[in-house]
Structure formats: C-alpha cells, structure tokens
Symmetry: none
C-alpha cells in the first residue's frame, strides 16, 4: 500500500481507502461487509469512510460492530463520519440537520455511539449550509477537536470560496481550520479537483478524499450498452447523480476509454482508479466495492498507475477532452 | 444620475462611469477625449477608469491633461489606475511589471506623474500575479493607502478564491483589504459576477466596477451580419476577447435580443446596459464610448432599466439561457 | 538537593533527575528499579524521565507500577513521557508514529494507561517530524494541556530554528509554546546547549533537561583502556551514539580529564556531572544509573560543582578545547 | 541573463549581480567603476549591492553618480545599502553604528543622499546587534518601508535563530519581516546556506544574496602557489577572512578543483560561480569584479552551470568533502 499525507497535515492515509456509502446496512449483508473490511485492512487500507446519512445510521453501526469484533489497534486505522443531512427522511425536525452547533455536536455524539468509539479521526461537514454562518460551524468543529471527540475536520462538496471563508474565520479567531475536502472526482468530473481547487493545495494545503472514482459505475464500462435496472444509478434518490453523469458525451468517452484500457492491457475500472491515483493532489481514492473480487481487483490500480506515462496520460487527455481550463491570466 | 456604494464602502460611484481603454491616446483624438469626458462629467458621471497599460501610459496623460484643463473640483470625481502589465512591449525588464512591491510602488508614482495628480482614488491589481505572494501585494496596497497615494484598492480579473485570500491576509495583519473587483460582465459573460462571486457580496462586501457591458460591441448588434474590419474586435492583441465572445451561440442570442429590444421599444445597446444596471451587485457600469452621440445615447440605460420588470427579465432569461447554475447544495 | 526553574516557567525541578532510558524494563530488574527510584526520591530528586519508546512501553509500565506502590504524593514529583517513535519495531503502521495529531493524542492516552496516571507533567516531542507542519504539533500539545492530560510540553533534539518556529506558531494563534528541550549535553558534546541555543535562553526562556551527562559512560573513564563488551555503548542500535562519541580526540580528552579530576580530589564521573551543573542554562541533569552505589555516588556532584572555581573551569577549558565559537559578530 | 525571485517575494533579481565592496571608491578608479556597471547593466544584471561601510560611504557616492549619469530607468534596477558599522573608523560615536532606531533611520537618510536617490530597493542589517532588541530593529525597518524610503529589508550574516526571531517579532506586531539574507557562500564555506538555513527557505521563504562566491579570490586558483602581496586577502582589516579561508585543507581542495575545471574545459572561477548558481536557494550571486575582462568572463558561469550534471556535481562533492551534515533526525 502507498500512504499519502492528508494535505499538509501529518496524518498518513492509504492512497486507496474504503467507503461504505450505499452498501453497509443496505445493499450488502453484514457478513460481506466484514469480509470486505478485512480484505481492505489486510491490504493496508487504513481509512474507512462513513456518514450519518449512509443507510440512515446503519452503515456506522455495521462498521463499528466489525471494528469491535476485529480488535484492530485503534491507532492503526482512521474512521470518519459526516454531518449535515441528519438521518434523512421526511420527519426530520429543523434542529436535526444542518451545520449549526446543535446538530454538529449531537450528530457527533450519536455517531460515536453508533460506532462504539471514543473519537472520530475525521469529521466532515457533508454539504455547505446556507442557513448557518460559517463562523458558527468553524467554532463548533474546533471545539469538538479541543474536546477530543474528533481529530481533524473537513468539508464535502463545498466551493473553493467557502473553504477559504472557513480558513479566514479560523484565522480570525485562532481556530483550527478544515484539513480536507471530500469532492466527487473521476475522469468525467474534473472541474473542482483540477480547476476550482487548484490554488487551495498551495495556500491552505488542502487534502482531498475523493469519492466516486468510477463515476457511480459508469467508468467500469458496464453501462456501455445501455442502462440496466438494479444497478447503482437506478437507486431512488440518486437521479441528480445519474443526470449529470449519463450524458451522451460521457458515454462516448467511456466506450473509447474501454478500448484504450484493453489495448494497455488493463480493465476499464483499473484505468479509471489508476488515473485518479496519478493526481498528487488526491490524498486518497475512496473505493465503494460491494463484492470481494471487485475489491481485490481494485488493488491493481497501483500497478496501473505506474504504467500511466506522460505519453499515455496525453492520449487519455485526447479521449477525454474535458481538462478544466487553467485560469485565463 | 444614480449613485451606488462601491460594495460595502461608503464611496458613492455613479452607476454609469467612463473608461478610456482602447480610446484615449489611441483610437480617438485628444479633442474628442475632452468632449467625451465633459459630457460624462456634466451628466453626473463621477468615475473615470484608467490603467498604466492603456495606450502604454498615454491614456493617463491625456486624461490627466483634460482634468487639469477643466479644473473640476478634485473632490467631485474619482480616478483610477491599474498596475500589473507595466507599459507593455517586449523590452520590459523583469522588475517593471507584476504585483511585487517594487512595481506597485513605482507604477503608482509614475501614474500620478502622468495624471499630474497627488493621489488616485482607486488603484487596481490588473491581474493576479502567480509569482508574487498575495501577502506582499496586500501589504503594499495598504501602505500606499497609508502614504496617502491611493484611497481604495481593488483587483481586476481575480478569482473568488484569490479575493478571499487577499482578505484573509488583510485580516491576519490588520490591513485594509480590497474594496472592489473589475470583472468583465455582460449578457454573454455572467459566470464570475453572478456565479463565482455570489458569496463575496455578503462575506466581504465586494464592489464591482464592471467592464465590457456591451461585450466589446457584440451587444450593439453591429456584428449581427458578420465581422467587419476596423471595429474594436479587429484590434491586434484582442484575439482572446474575440475568440470567447464571437461564438455562434452568442451571435444567435444577440440576434434574438436585438429583436426583443426593438419590441420593447429600445435599442440593443440600451437593453444591454440596462440589464447590467439591473444587477444590484454591480457598483458601476464602465462605458467605453468613442463618439459623442454614442455616449449621450447610453444615458438612456436608466430609463431602460426601469422597464425591465420581473416578467421582462424572465423573457430575457429565456433567450439567454446562460444563467450560472446556483451552487448545487 | 538544589532546585531550578524549568527555563522561564515557575516549575522547580531538581538539578539532578532520574531517567529510565535503557534500564527499566530492559537492563535491570524491577526490584532494582524500585530501589533506584526510592534512593532518588529520598535524596530530593523530583523528576523521573521516560518515553514511549524506552523498552517499547515497558519502561513506563515499570515506573508507573513503582509510583503506585510507593504512594508518594502525586504533587511531590514530576513525570515525563515522549512521543514520536511509537513503540518502535518494523510492524509500525504509518499512523502509529510521528508528531501529527493522531499519534500525539493516542500516544499520550496510551502512556497515561501504562503509567496508570491521570496526567503527565512534561510531554516531549521526541524528535522533529519533517512530515508534519509544526503548526499541527503546537496546536495538539496546546490542546492536551487544555484537556488536562499534560502540564508542560517540550521538544527533544530539535534545532534552535525549529524551536523558534514552534514559538512563532504559538504566538500567532495565542497557544502555549514549548517550555523545555531535552538535548544531549556533556563535556564532549557542547554545540547545541552552549552554541546553537545561546539566544533561546533569553528570547523564549528555554529550559533544558539534558541527557547523557556522562557521554554514555565515556566520561566515567571506563573506556580509557579500550571498549569492553557488555557496556552501554555496546548495545545494538546505539552505533550512532558510539560513533560520535568514541573518537580519538575525545578519548584523549577523557584521559587528561581523569587525571585532572584525580588531582582535584574527585572522580571522573563526578567532575563530569559537576561541570554540567555549573551551566546555569541547564535546568536539570538526567542521571541514568543502573546501580545503587553509582546513583548514590552521583549526588556528590553538588560538592564537586562548588569546587569548580573560574580558575578550575579555565583549566578544564584548556583540556577540552571544544568550546563552541561565539557568533562571529 | 537569468532572473530569480528574491525568496518568496515577487521581486525578480538577476542571478548574477554586482557588488562594489572593496572596489568602488577604493581599489579602482571611477572611470573603471562606470565601465564595469555599464557592462553589468548591458548584460542584464539588475542588482547593484552596496553598504555604508564600503569605502566609508564613497562606494555609494561613486555608484550614485554613475546611476545618475547613465540615466537608466529607475524601475529597471535594484540598489541596496547596509547599515550597522556606520562609516567605520576609531572616532565613531556610540550613536553612529548598530541597529537601533537612531542609526538605522539616519544611516538610511545618509545613504539616500550619497546615492542621490529617493529610495533604496533593498536595505540590510549588516550584522546582528546584540546591544539592540530585535524588536526595535524590525519596527524600524518596517517603518522605513511604510515611509517609502526602502522597499524590502533583510539581514547579513545573521544566524537562522536570529532570522526566525525577526519573523516572530514581525508576526507578533503585524510588521513586515526580513525578505533576504546576505551570507558568505562558496565551495569552501557552505555551512550557513546549505545547513543552518535549510528550513528557512520553506518556513519563511528566505531569499539569499550571496557574497564572496570566489572565496575572496582563493577560488580563482591565484593563491595556489602561495600568497602574493597586493591581492585582496592582503588588505588590512581582512585578517578574519584570510584566517578562515586560507587553511591548508582549502588550498588542497582548490588545487584539485583547478585541475578538475581544466578537464571540464572551464576555468576555476567559472566553475566556482557555476557551482553557486546551481543552488536553487541562492537568489543571486554577487560578483566583485575590478576589471572589465574579469567581469565579462564571469557571464560564462551560466554555460558552466548547464554542464554541472548530477554526475559532475557528485565528483565535485568527492573533492570538496565539506557538505554540511543533514540534521541527524
């Protein structure tokens, strides 16, 4: 396994990590979840990603139960949660979601209970909250660190401007600012990580824990011949993801890439993961495997990465033609 | 004339203002320049925009000479300059451009001499400078304010992230941050002002002095039937502007808008200016007229603005179909 | 016993103190450890030095067990630990060492458990960590103080530049900076304490808890006739210490000093300890005795120190000829 | 010419620059001085180094007179002075030297008069002053920047610890800290630039304007056969330089290097300059030529630098054997 610093922080996170979104407590049985985490840990993965909203809390319960059973040394792995959506659903009370102090504090406490842990290593603000001043959010996350309930805090799907504002507030009050951001990133979705965030790696030393490296499965090539039922993008409530990803131009790209990967002697998913690993501003690529074989296969991404020479990268660029424009001046 | 606060600052700038880019010292004779400025001033325009690079210093000389001759009270108008490009040309020495302390200080001194003025009201960093830490730039602009050589400082064509960084630095050292940004803004170019900067109006109270409200003339409708020689977009060195603006989709928009303006009973340029004035986050719309009649006509934009009801604005939106997406969450 | 302030702090530490490096949990039996600590405590030593890496955690367990058994009042002694190396060994995971927040927090918790204590008096960063920003380390140590888990924090084998940077960060965020540094210091190794750190005593009020006052035994004179097996410098993994210390020039110095000590009427080790005590910038001299008689003998260092008149010190300087040059200007 | 940023600042300084130490107003006639500066400027050198003590003020007078006569654009070059020694000599009053506010302010004013300039680009504290708190010095330099009398300030022959302290003070009071340091640096004197300062390039973005790249001529090879009268190192008052440099080990190194340079097809001085240019942490190498031919010859250093492959650098290291040890941990 390869380890990378989480942005400028000293925490070393495995370059591939394991997330339980859409799987734990939902798509897969707990026995499979156990097997997957064991394979991940045994192969050097040290970061397990989670969130309150994943399977409405059940994903954290399943993961916590496995961690307890395994008895791995607490200092050998990194666990995250994310707050914002609450446990979802229509009956949520106004105080049960968002980034105000009450929800962040209560959500953290609840996540720790579901995990059966004393502290989270990483805690994310799952979305920006226009109804809460960033000041209140930064203060709350800082206090959670001071209380020892979390070690590092970050954001997910925030804009560069919002991340900068969080750092500005942190500096103004001498607080600990956000360490990492969890954006979507893959061959079909590059704007934030390669464009908008470009300066943040230098100015605030932003780390990134990227999700959806396979574009919800589109980059496996499995939708090349149409959109079958029962696959991830068919899940209710994910229409927004589907609509952005399954556009015609992308389907054309994936077909060409699949052929290109074949010529390179690797599979389409391995090429897609390898390509993400190639980006030095990516701290870790979160895998969302639901099957043993799939997860084991994914570790070939490092070999794949080593074969992405500048020439090969340039050929990929010719197929993708979606590189974010550099700043005009 | 209508006056608006320059962002959160207390300085009131006329909602239409007058810029000398591409005209003073270059396209038009000094006599015309005098006439135009007089018409502008007599109609309540109080902001005259300039930059060191405009006609390589000559634009400032011409403007300064006119101001001197007219003898208008110094406290009745606002004058700007911008530094970054130096005087342009191939023989520039490395110390004669950029946003480091030496160039900003020397450029300010030189602009004051060309203008024959004791201080500038507004001083802009004409572009971001990747080779100078923003810290050095903020410190220098602050010191120029302290020395009484400039009154407010701002940026031009910076990203939201860079503007936030400038404010972060200003706050850290208790310095005066940038008050305004000068972005391109018009019906065809909306991303920065309506999208990227959206939060900045609230967080740092950003003012905007927008340039190219007519998209370099495209929004006058004069290119509707092709691209004649001798017009602004034919000027050598402005290919970048031309290439972004004269795309097919835009030409289609302008044709429809021209018809729409006619139905509304106003000309295309007046509709374009009125539409800019409608945006409350625009502090002032910089006009770049080179002819008397053109400038006088432009003042009708206020009447035009008053006729842009919510319904009309929505119809325009249906033609433009280029409204920047709000942040997804 | 004589007590000295730990740098500018108000904490009074005994001028001789007792460290368990290489002995507790390793070279000596727990019964001997108990005897040595009892002699130390009864003779007024109030500081017991330790680290996570000493005997891979066992040194802390042994010391903690003794402290518990003795029942000495907790406010009558000072206990330290140090984090950086983790528990050592080849199987360490990347998150189990270094000065990032996760390791410092977890290492502190683990040390407290091994010690069976509620808080450490002194907590050291055992080495600088180039992979973690000093900012993250300072914040974490500050927070541990706020949480009541440690009372003072310091560094060990850091450079003057790094210590200054820690203070700069502390000042910037209004945090508590490092109080003390634990450097090697003895007649043969003077550069850091007398040269590099010279200004730090004044500027930041640095305290020093010096280790190896006898240069790993070389200054006892026992290697004067060669390097016997089974002595400290023969321990595997300490080659770096041996190589720096056992150089020919040093052996010559020690032979002359041994004779000089004899003429003064004291033993070589007493002269060496007395000489360290003579330096006012040394807060405490950590003894590493493994035998009763040896420890008891060491207390004569105070008498010895009182006989080091300016003349005698000058004669020693003539033998050592290794006084760090003062800054050239 | 090649230009480099002065540390993290945005000011671009020529990689070779020209200093007047020991020459202007002293060893060489003013006509020669004029010729040398003209050659330098025409070849792209944009930094002229000076100090109050050089020829007791005469060096600045000569340089100022030449700059005036030439009429080069003020924004095309960078001029420095340094304060600390006053004008030297035995009759100096206590207020006429050092880094207290009175001398720094008066020395700056006097240097400007001797130069006939309105401001200095760079102003150095020529040595550390143990009799003045660094706080007073930092405040004074900051105020001189605010008053527009200097643009950047720095230090010369300060220790890493002192430079850090200056930055700490600057930060505490929100002042502008030192941008650059002027240390001695050459193949025979590497400790400060390669060892002691190693972290400062990263932490505070230190720029370096290095002096004595030829080790006072020793690296020209002209002393290979003994120490003739009438050469630089024979100058009265430079015994300290002579004593450090002309040691036997160095003479041996230079003899071997001279042969090595010959085999490489370049002269000894060119090799010595090229080797300095190779170090990326060197912002500029100050040349001290006193003859036309010598100065013109020096520009070959860039060609020479391009031939210093990693292999060649390693061979040089084998001859020098004086690379500063990296930090032990």
């Amino acid at each position: 396994m390869e380890y990378r610093r989480l942005g400028k922080s000293g925490l070393q996170v495995s370059a591939l990590s394991f997330g339980s979104w859409l799987t734990f407590g939902k798509q897969i049985e707990n026995g499979i979840a156990d097997e997957l985490m064991t394979i991940a840990y045994d192969n050097g993965i040290n970061f397990f990603d989670n969130a309150e909203i994943y399977a409405r809390g059940k994903s954290e319960e399943v993961m916590g139960e496995i961690l307890k059973k395994k008895g791995w040394s607490r200092d050998s792995y990194i666990v995250s949660s994310k707050a914002f959506f609450g446990l979802g659903g229509k009956d949520l009370k106004p105080t049960q979601k968002g980034l105000h102090r009450k929800h962040l504090v209560e959500a953290c406490e609840q996540a720790l209970k579901r995990f059966q842990l004393d502290y989270l290593d990483l805690y994310f603000c799952h979305r920006p909250d226009k109804q809460t001043p960033i000041e209140e959010t930064v203060w709350t996350m800082h206090n959670l660190i001071q209380q020892g309930k979390i070690l590092y805090w970050g954001t997910s799907e925030w804009s560069a401007q919002e991340i900068m504002e969080a750092h500005m507030v942190a500096q103004r009050y001498s607080l600990i600012g956000p360490t990492m951001e969890q954006p979507q990133y893959n061959m079909l979705e590059r704007n934030k990580v390669e464009g908008e965030f470009a300066q943040l790696y230098k100015t605030v030393g932003l780390g990134t824990t990227i999700w959806s490296p396979l574009a919800s499965g589109v980059l496996t090539g499995k939708y090349n011949d149409g959109f079958p039922e029962g696959t991830r993008l068919g899940i209710e409530g994910l229409d927004w993801l589907r609509d952005n990803t399954l556009v015609e131009a992308n389907m054309k790209r994936v077909k060409e890439l699949t052929k290109f990967a074949f010529d390179l002697g690797m599979t389409m998913p391995i090429l897609a993961l390898a390509w993400c690993l190639k980006n030095e501003n990516v701290s870790t690529v979160i895998l969302g495997a639901s099957k043993r074989a799939q997860l084991i296969e994914n570790f070939k991404a490092f070999e794949g990465r080593d074969r992405l020479t500048p020439q090969v990268m340039e050929q990929i660029e010719q197929i993708l033609k979606n590189k974010p424009a550099p700043p005009s001046f």
